[in-house]
């Protein structure tokens, strides 16, 4: 078994009296697409928030490539190669799509002091930004103001911003949230194309997508891992069935 790239041990997080992450063990192996599923309130987004460092755990550790990053601030984790997308679109509404992605590229292209060139003429930023937009299928809207994009296009932009820095690990929080049928299909194809090129942690509700794409699946319920393994194992797991009893599968 290959050494894990990103892992948590005993991750615990409380919000007041509410235990959101309960001694959570989780690990991601290089090159895999690891899906995280579970009912609402299971703590999936909180896990992502802790992995990226936007939330500090109350107990437990997080390791990345053998190094303890539990106390590392968010921006440093990003520079190490951990990138995330948000469940609720979090872009820069006043910038165009291209400017959004160029800004994302800028963070990983050295410092931002001392340059006087307009960013629109910085090849080092524009070229990867255009490539990322092409990859997610948003090229045609590159000069559109982000605030004016449709919801599905927002989700594409989200992904482009996470991709452009060529991260080692992509943490995707419900990339298809709120998308309709056709948009979802293109997103699924896109995720499929990303699959071998990036290590991906995918939080998702749509079971069809999860079982189609995932190499491994972790099931979270009330902040605890109740099952983790190959899709076939998860499908057969009694605990998982129990957790989902009465739950209707939502698609999209």
């Amino acid at each position: 078994m290959s050494a894990s790239m990103l892992s948590t041990r005993g991750l615990t997080k409380r919000f007041g009296g509410l235990l959101v992450s309960d001694c959570l063990d989780f690990d991601v192996v290089p090159g895999e697409l690891h899906a995280v599923i579970g009912p609402n309130g299971a703590g999936k987004t909180t896990l992502i928030n802790q992995l990226i460092g936007e939330l500090g755990p109350d107990a437990g550790t997080i390791e990345f490539e053998g190094r303890d990053i539990t106390a590392l601030p968010t921006y440093r984790r990003s520079l190490l190669g951990i990138s995330r997308s948000y469940q609720i679109t979090s872009v820069f509404p006043d910038f165009t799509a291209l400017e959004n992605v160029a800004l994302a590229a800028q963070a990983h292209d050295g410092h931002s002091f001392g340059s006087w060139r307009p960013v629109s003429r910085e090849e080092r930023l524009v070229r990867p930004a255009l490539a990322a937009l092409e990859e997610v299928g948003l090229s045609v809207k590159k000069d559109a103001c982000a605030a004016e994009l449709a919801h599905g296009e927002h989700r594409q932009l989200e992904l482009a911003m996470a991709l452009v820095s060529r991260p080692k690990v992509l943490l995707l929080d419900e990339p298809m949230a709120g998308m309709g049928g056709l948009e979802s299909e293109s997103m699924i194809r896109l995720l499929g194309s990303l699959k071998r090129r990036f290590t991906i942690v995918l939080v998702e509700h749509d079971m069809d997508v999860v079982f189609a794409l995932a190499d491994r699946i972790t099931v979270l319920v009330y902040g605890k891992t109740i099952a983790s393994g190959l899709p076939g194992e998860i499908r057969a797991s009694i605990e998982v069935k129990r957790a989902y009893l009465g739950e209707r599968y939502a698609s999209g």
Binding site: I52, E54, P73, T74, Y75, R76, S78, L79, S83, R84, Y86, S90, V91, F92, P93, D94, F95, T96, L98, E99, A102, L103, A104, Q106, A107, H108, S112, F113, G114, S115, W116, R117, P118, V119, S120, R121, E122, K142, D143, C145, M161, S165
Partner: protein, 326 residues
């Protein structure tokens, strides 16, 4: 919409250039019609326009509401005042010391203030500025509450002289023009985009990998230094240094100018300063109690001035072909 990005031939650039040329002509026109008053009025506008432009960098583009920028006016003014008091009237020394002090104070206060955000930041900048006001008042040997008269203006040697009002006017105009041009370049380059990003979504900026704090402090330092230079001009303009320059209402005035003119626009602060100074001048000629009118006017400005006067002008333009235009 984003700050302006345009080619050198677009109508807006031409309008700005014409405007600046008109400003350059003011002393000539003023002399021609024999009314030196206009030179002093517009000098005042330029000085506060420079200060407002410096505030716009961190407030308009960076989203950092500093209610204590008048502090740097005081630093510049007192540098000139105290050095002159001790017989040092070399303008270059005044300039270097102003920049050094402004940088130091803004760096230290910036480090402390940036640990907070939102409301706390506003209040802390206010408190720090007032602290320096009290410091100025307690400097009895330099006039204290009464202020310090400056007998001779900063001497910039053989290069140029600001002993006369026209000389000072052109120095102020030159500094304003340089600041606005550099701001324009800055805003479209990496640092400027970074600041704008932090203004709209700081959480995402960190997640993208930006060490936001150091850039915010750097922007604050740059802003403080420019405002310090405005203070140097102010002291030369009034031949006076006073703690009143640092009083918190002056910081409030600067914020009004920035908002009135248009946040996150290049020309906005100058436009806002012009309107505000002229408004003050007109109102105070009308009644001794002009503040009772100015107060509600400011409330109205806060209520209505979404994009500011200059911002409204920008919005009425047909849009460019997107910000990717060269």
């Amino acid at each position: 919409m984003l700050p302006e990005t345009l080619s050198a031939r677009s109508p807006r650039v031409i309008a700005v250039v014409v405007f600046m040329l008109l400003l350059a002509a003011v002393p000539l026109i003023s002399a021609a019609i024999g009314q030196s008053y206009y030179v002093t009025l517009v000098t005042r506008i330029l000085v506060f326009g420079l200060a407002a432009a410096s505030l716009n960098l961190i407030l308009g583009y960076g989203g950092l509401v500093s209610f204590g920028h008048a502090l740097y006016l005081g630093i510049g003014a007192y540098t000139v005042g105290i050095l002159s008091f001790h017989g040092i009237s070399n303008g270059w020394i005044h300039l270097v010391v102003t920049l050094a002090l402004s940088a130091l104070v803004s760096f230290l206060t910036g480090l402390v203030c940036m640990r907070t955000s939102g409301v706390a930041f506003i209040m802390i900048t206010l408190a720090f500025a007032q602290m320096f006001y009290f410091l100025g008042v307690s400097l009895k040997q330099y006039g204290g509450d009464d202020g310090l008269t400056i007998t001779q203006r900063s001497d910039f040697g053989p290069l140029f002289s600001i002993q006369g009002n026209t000389g000072l006017y052109y120095l102020a105009l030159g500094l304003v023009a340089a600041t606005l041009y550099l701001s324009w370049r800055f805003v479209h380059a990496r640092f400027g985009r970074l600041l704008l990003g932090t203004k709209s979504n700081i959480r995402r900026m960190r997640a993208l990998g930006f060490p936001v704090l150091r850039y915010q402090v750097a922007a604050y330092v740059i802003s403080g230094c420019i405002c310090g230079v405005a203070g140097l001009l102010l002291a030369n303009f009034t031949n006076f240094a006073s703690p009143a320059y640092m009083y918190w209402t002056v910081s409030g005035d600067l914020i009004v100018m920035v908002i009135l003119g248009g946040i996150a626009t290049i020309m906005g602060p100058l436009v806002g300063a012009a309107v505000y100074v002229i408004l003050e001048t007109v109102l105070s000629a009308y009644t001794q109690h002009w503040m009772v009118i100015l107060g509600p006017v400011i409330v109205l400005i806060a209520l209505l001035a979404n994009r500011g006067l200059y911002g409204l002008l920008l919005a009425r333009e047909p849009s460019d072909s997107g910000s990717g235009a060269p």
